[in-house]
Amino acid sequence: MDTLTSIDQLPFSSPLGGELVDGSASDHALLEATRTGDEDAFAELVSRYRNQLVSYIYRMISDYDGAVDLTQETFVRVYRAADRYQQSHAFSTYIYRIATNLAISELRKRKRRRLVSLTGFFQSNDGSEPLEFNPPDERPLQDTELVEFERRAAVQRAIGTLPEKYRAPLILRDVEGRSYEEISQILGTSEGTVKSRISRARGFLREKVKAYL
């Protein structure tokens, strides 16, 4: 009896002998192979997009564990709907659209839950976005790495306070570096709306991270 030494040997098998899984196959070809039962093709798709999606969803919901769970859910949905996939758009647009919808649903769920935050005492008086609990530290900073870490954390917190309709296009544009056309396809809106929302998002963000500019 053979002894399995890796989890990779367990559930997935490749009826096509892994012909397509050479790293050069297009996403569409991999999904087509997945549809015919090639699990390695799907594994290749996962390896291409898992880090991108975890990072993107993490920027959206500011929660690493939640981002990992939603990324997993994204791949599960892609796998389930492989038979119904139509190649009208790029696969990356398709999978980012699923991820965006999941992230927005998660944000709305969390808003409904009204989680009590320890920083909830520091709400702004005008009822707008909550102020960040950021007590001034007068001590001299230890090194530049720490400064960078603090700056990135502040930007991430500021992005997390943006309304969701501004957050997604800003991340897709300025963090992911996607084109307006792709963003409009992912979000299902016009390019004009995308440009307008990104402009508004930058305006909000500029005010919030003014100290770091």
């Binding site: 989890i7 367990l10 559930p11 997935f12 594994a43 996962v46 390896s47 898992r50 880090n51 991108q52 999606l53 975890v54 990072s55 993490y58 920027r59 690493y64 981002a67 990992v68 990324t71 997993q72 791949f75 599960v76 796998y79 960078e148 700056r151 990135r152 930007v155 991430q156 992005i159 800003l170 300025d174 963090v175 570096g177 307006y180 440009k195 990104i198 402009s199 930058r202 963000l205 500029r206 991270v209 770091y212 500019l213």
Partner: protein, 255 residues
């Protein structure tokens, strides 16, 4: 410098990426407009800041968890189908049970009057030649006592032979075959008396049975009791007539 120009330039700065440096319109404007130059610097800093966010990576066991979940779903899929089949079977059983119950209720309601055991069994049937008697109350005190003695068992009988039978002969006729066996109203003289008829024809004579009616009552324990009902007289008719008023009057009332 017009405000509209600044607005348009800032919009262009927002939209453009690396082309800002090569765009002569933007570069020409920001050299003469300090506000837009400041805006451009802030915009570049902001983009650098946002782009400096370090991408996070999936955990090392991400693939393992995903494979496990997909395999789990694959295993649980037939179970879900089985549950679906069970629920369908359950619904079918429920519908069948409701249908059987409905048919049973309908059948029971149809058979109920026939299957109900009559409280009074007439063993001595009236001969066809003799006029039928409805068992109306009698005028003599002794006869009334005799009837009252059997009241607990005979109680359902007055429904057919009491004052109501005088008021609604159609009901009496329709129920007679079920309760009174072998009484043919077409052959025998009907004993129904209407008060209206009496008012219109006060001198009309009633044809009344000339023989006593014997009613055998079986209380179910094997002991039978026979009750003899004497011939109905005009006194009984008067009692019947008074009984129509809705309340029972004592027989001693002068009328």
């Amino acid at each position: 410098m017009k405000a509209n120009d600044c607005k348009a330039i800032r919009q262009r700065i927002d939209e453009l990426e690396h082309e800002i440096e090569t765009n002569t319109t933007i570069q020409g404007h920001v050299q003469s407009c300090s506000m837009c130059r400041r805006f451009l610097e802030d915009e570049k800093s902001l983009r650098r800041l946002v782009a400096s966010l370090v991408p996070v990576e999936a955990p090392p066991d991400f693939d393992f968890r995903l494979r496990a979940r997909l395999a789990n779903e694959r295993v649980s899929k037939p179970g879900r189908q089985r549950i679906g089949k069970l629920s369908f079977a359950g619904a079918a059983i429920t519908v069948a049970a409701v249908a059987v119950l409905g048919v049973g209720i309908a059948l029971f309601q149809q058979l109920k009057p026939v299957s109900a055991p009559p409280a009074v069994a007439l063993k001595d049937q009236v001969k066809p030649a003799e006029p039928a008697s409805t068992g109306a109350p009698r005028e003599s005190q002794s006869q009334e006592t005799q009837v009252k003695a059997a009241a607990p068992v005979v109680q359902p009988a007055p429904k057919h032979s009491g004052p109501n039978s005088v008021k609604r002969p159609d009901i009496l006729a329709s129920e007679r075959p079920r309760r009174l066996v072998a009484i043919d109203s077409a052959v025998t003289t009907p004993s129904v008396v209407r008060q209206d008829d009496l008012l219109i024809e006060p001198e009309s004579q009633l044809t009344l049975p000339v023989q006593t009616l014997k009613v055998s009552v079986d209380d179910g324990s094997g002991v039978s009791r026979t009750i003899s009902l004497p011939t109905v007289s005009f006194g009984a008719e008067r009692v019947l007539t008074n009984a129509r008023s809705g309340f029972a009057q004592p027989t001693k009332v002068s009328w």
